[in-house]
């Protein structure tokens, strides 16, 4: 299973092996990873599962759709070029080794 590393804002690392087809958000919530709120349950409606993806791994992730792009305009912590909503990061084989950093805040 692809391995994903979550780095909390305080630096705490969590490494998860995630089944292909599960989202980075779902795996975090299932395993009680702090720092991902995911209020809407993965409908790309709330921007509370915001993560920063390691820049050179962005191309391994699913392409960003318009809705996610627009939701990212309203994240509680600043949007960066490597910002994604983790509910849209459905894990695939080429995402093995992905490292995501959590923002300071998910809600205002």
């Amino acid at each position: 299973m692809p391995r994903v590393t979550y780095i909390a804002h305080n630096g705490k690392e969590t490494i998860l092996d995630i089944a292909i087809g599960t989202s980075v958000m779902q795996a975090a919530v299932l395993n009680g990873v702090d720092g991902i709120v995911a209020e809407c349950g993965g409908s790309c409606m709330c921007a509370t599962c915001h993560v920063y993806v390691t820049e050179d791994q962005l191309s391994h992730c699913p392409e960003m759709e318009l809705g996610e792009d627009a939701m990212l305009d309203g994240t509680a912590s600043p949007r960066q070029p490597n910002s994604r909503l983790s509910c849209q990061l459905v894990v695939s084989a080429q995402m093995d080794g992905l490292v995501v950093r959590m923002p300071e805040m998910q809600t205002e």
């Binding site: 299932l30 009680g32 305009d73 309203g74």
Partner: protein
């Protein structure tokens, strides 16, 4: 944030839905160090409701992905979760709640997050086997099982739930007939254009509708449903009937404790009842809504429940503020996605952005010149911008709204690009 000197030592929360769970999470996140007791009337750990009528009903996801958090969360966060319990009495003078388990819980602060329950119409035959609902996990599990075996389905009520269910049933190839009292779908919450589009979209997938029709009785044989009789109409064959005509707030407990109830538990703009030791949040609470001109408002939405919870937590932790969050809603009906920002009730004018015939549009709803809310259909970017626009209290004209070259994103931008 550290708890203030006046923070309560024990918070008891009645109701473990989205509001109750968020309260727990936000209390600990905010540094609350006291006792938290969460009382829920269902056996499962707190779970997310929206997927019940969508991915859970269709079998795409299981219970594991419904749970808000795994069991360890409650242990790690020192939250006492009392599952399968219901409060029967609040003794305000003694600050105690009695549960149906016989247990009594003392509280410093009590939060009523009791939600709502299905409205059950007083129809003959309503108790027949095969009459189902779709609100909680147990109901959805039963419905999932019945759906698999159903040959003819009648849905009473064309609201979000009825339509979401119908879409899942049609995807399985099941015949679905929806009986609706009003003359259009989702009539209570969306504008005519949106209703019309969704009715057509459902018809295109094979859903049948009878509008302006009242179900008069449910009939059956050997205790099992076999038809629904429509007033001034015929009998529709049905071995599965889904009743989705809305909900009733669970306010009786508050009422019997002497708290004001009027379409929900009455709270002020801080979400406090008249008793400063008792707050009410989510579907069960009637609050003065800033986005409805301060009118008493009761909403049935995840956003409402979770934002209410955060507002109450801030107050409990000494950072009191009025509740001002913008209401938003969403519904997924088969391939169609509806997202609503603001409250569009009472609009008298609309501006359409995009193409209705392509199923890619937003309807901006105005009362006079004032933008009340925006309904977006398969247009998530508009919705996201709309939320920021409304939350910032900004207005755009109907002409701007309808002009696709007008930059909605820039108009809504709350921070420098």
């Amino acid at each position: 944030m550290t708890p203030g000197p006046t923070s309560p030592r024990r918070v008891v929360i009645l109701g473990a839905g989205h509001g109750g769970f968020q309260l727990v999470a936000s209390l600990r996140q905010g540094g609350f160090d006291g006792e938290i007791m969460l009382v829920g009337d269902e056996p499962a750990l707190p779970y997310q409701r929206p997927p019940l009528s969508k991915d859970y009903l269709s079998g795409k996801i299981g219970l594991d992905l419904l749970l808000m958090r795994p069991e360890a969360f409650y242990r790690d966060q020192r939250v006492e979760y009392l599952a399968g319990c219901r409060a029967t009495k609040i003794d305000r003078a003694a600050r105690k709640v009695r549960l149906d388990s016989g247990q009594t819980l003392g509280y410093d602060h009590l939060v009523l997050a009791t939600g709502a329950r299905n409205r059950v119409p007083p129809l003959p035959g309503i108790q027949l086997d095969g009459v189902c609902y779709l609100r909680d996990l147990a109901e959805t599990d039963l419905l999932r099982e019945r759906l698999a075996a159903a040959a003819d389905i009648v849905v009473i009520g064309a609201g979000f739930i009825g339509l979401e269910f119908a879409a899942v049933a049609r995807a399985r190839g099941k015949p679905v007939h929806i009986v609706e009292l009003a003359d259009r779908v989702m009539g209570r919450v969306v504008c005519v254009d949106t209703s019309r589009y969704f009715a057509a979209a459902h018809r295109a997938t094979g859903v049948e509708f009878t509008f302006g029709a009242q179900a008069e009785s449910i009939g059956g044989a050997n205790g099992k449903v076999d038809h629904v009789k429509v007033k001034d109409g015929g009998a529709l064959p049905a071995d599965l009937v889904v009743v989705s005509i809305g909900v009733v707030p669970n306010a009786e407990l508050a009422q019997s404790a002497g708290l004001a109830v009027a379409n929900g538990i009455v709270v002020d703009e801080r979400l406090s009842t008249a008793d400063p030791a008792i707050s009410a949040i989510g579907d069960c609470a009637s609050f003065p809504c800033r986005h409805a001109g301060g009118a008493p408002t009761r909403l049935e939405a995840v956003q409402n429940a979770t934002d209410h919870a955060r507002c109450v937590v801030d107050r409990l932790l000494g950072k009191e503020r009025p509740y001002t969050a913008l209401p938003w809603f969403w519904s997924e009906q088969g391939e169609q996605r509806l997202q609503i920002a603001g409250l569009t009730n009472g609009h008298d004018r609309v501006a359409v952005r995009g193409r209705i015939d392509n199923g890619d549009f937003s309807v901006f709803c105005y009362a006079g010149d004032r933008l009340l809310g925006i309904e977006s259909i398969n247009r998530p970017a508009d919705h996201a911008h709309a939320r920021r626009l409304l939350a910032a209290g900004r207005q755009i004209s109907p002409e701007q709204a309808a002009d696709e070259s007008f930059d909605l994103r820039a108009a809504a931008a709350t921070r420098a690009p």
